[in-house]
Symmetry: C2
Subunit: 237 residues, 2 copies
């Protein structure tokens, strides 16, 4: 009998935003696996720390700091191999995933390598978008409105066209793109409706009007925009 | 001292997909409030049931079965009044919200009535979209792709234009619209990439290729579509 890989969502950062199921699976795990940047403590492991027991075997997947795809993909190759070794021994492996495993998560790179070869289960988690909205006190979307998630590294024209069809949107992966996104929202007359949320639900959380957001922004920050059609749901403050 | 209204996300249906924080707040609540359709057990209350104590006071907000806005809005007026009465007595009120409170949630109608007058906190939850993807074993979105949520009651032209700019999308609130949506996806050549998920994470869960989905579908069902650009993330099955 080979083991099962279980990708568990950890939510946005507050350890209390784990689901009961994720907490139970982590506490019961023989083997856990998680990504870490070289020389730093894994953010995923930090969120889950209180549920990890002393006897749990830990597979650390070191993801090199690089925008090139090659080195990161090689790291996922190696991580998938080490997970497969444990699965072949009949051990279940719980993979710790920041946020939700299938929403801009690196778990997908492991999933794509192992699905079809091993049994896989995925436990969903709270996304940074839901967390940002909750902390900012802003409704995301209602009734027959559409919500669009837009990664900031896209070019201006792509971003503009994606905003066109949306009633509200969340812009992710801001980093060095914040200034460009702010200018774009200003040109479209949407800057007034935008709120900036950094590290939602963590002690270091920052929530600001877009005009006051830092540039560059950290990677774990988002901008939430409602096109202002429904002041009834998000009353002007 | 007036009390605080706390909207807590309950996740998609499996009681184990509550967050630790939601479970703690419900268990500690003096007063809870939740919506219910007339003559039925509240779905929200069912999800949270194991955490509700015998001494908790319960405010049931009966939402009439009607597509007209008037009767429902009157019900939220009354619900907000009853919550406000408890808040005025200095009691905190925990509002039970299916999924995530700010993602197509009825909590927003209470929030809009009471925010600014009382202290409000929102605890995010796992959405039905994350849950459906997890249960179907399908990545939602990755890298610089965009994800769009599209309510099925929109007209064909609106839906088509929203699909245009998306790399992947989730269609919600299917109900009697399923046949129309299926035809639309077929005409766009996207039916092959679509999966139908009904009541994700509940015992009654159903996952089917779109071609086999029931018409009409229940309200708590979604269709997930990836435009097929990335078979590497969602390998063909």
């Amino acid at each position: 009998m080979t083991g099962k890989m279980i990708g568990v969502g950890l939510g946005p950062g507050d350890p209390e935003l784990l689901t009961l199921k994720s907490a139970r699976l982590i506490a019961a795990a023989q083997v856990i696996a998680y990504p870490a940047l070289p020389g730093t403590e894994s953010f995923a492991r930090q969120i889950a720390a209180m549920h990890i027991t002393e006897t749990t075997h830990e597979i650390v997947i070191e993801i090199p700091m690089s925008t090139a795809r090659g080195p990161a993909q090689a790291a996922y190759d190696l991580g998938a191999e080490r997970i497969a070794e444990a699965l072949d021994l009949g051990q279940d492996v719980v993979v710790l995933c920041e946020g939700d495993p299938f929403f801009y998560g690196s778990f997908m790179y492991l999933h794509a390598r192992l699905v079809g070869h091993y049994e896989v289960e995925v436990v969903p988690g709270v996304t940074s978008v839901s967390a940002g909205a909750a902390r900012a006190g802003r409704a995301l979307t209602a009734r027959n409105d559409t919500l669009v998630t837009i990664p900031a590294p896209l070019d201006d024209e792509s971003i503009r066209s994606r905003m066109d069809g949306a009633d509200s949107f969340a812009i992710l992966k801001l980093g060095r793109h914040l200034g460009r996104i702010r200018a774009l929202l200003g040109a479209l007359g949407l800057a007034e409706n935008a709120v900036y949320v950094e590290r939602a639900t963590l002690a270091e959380e920052v929530i600001l009007p877009l005009a006051e957001a830092p540039d560059p922004a950290p990677y774990f920050s988002i901008i939430l925009v409602t096109k202002g059609a429904d002041p009834w749901l998000n009353p002007p403050s």
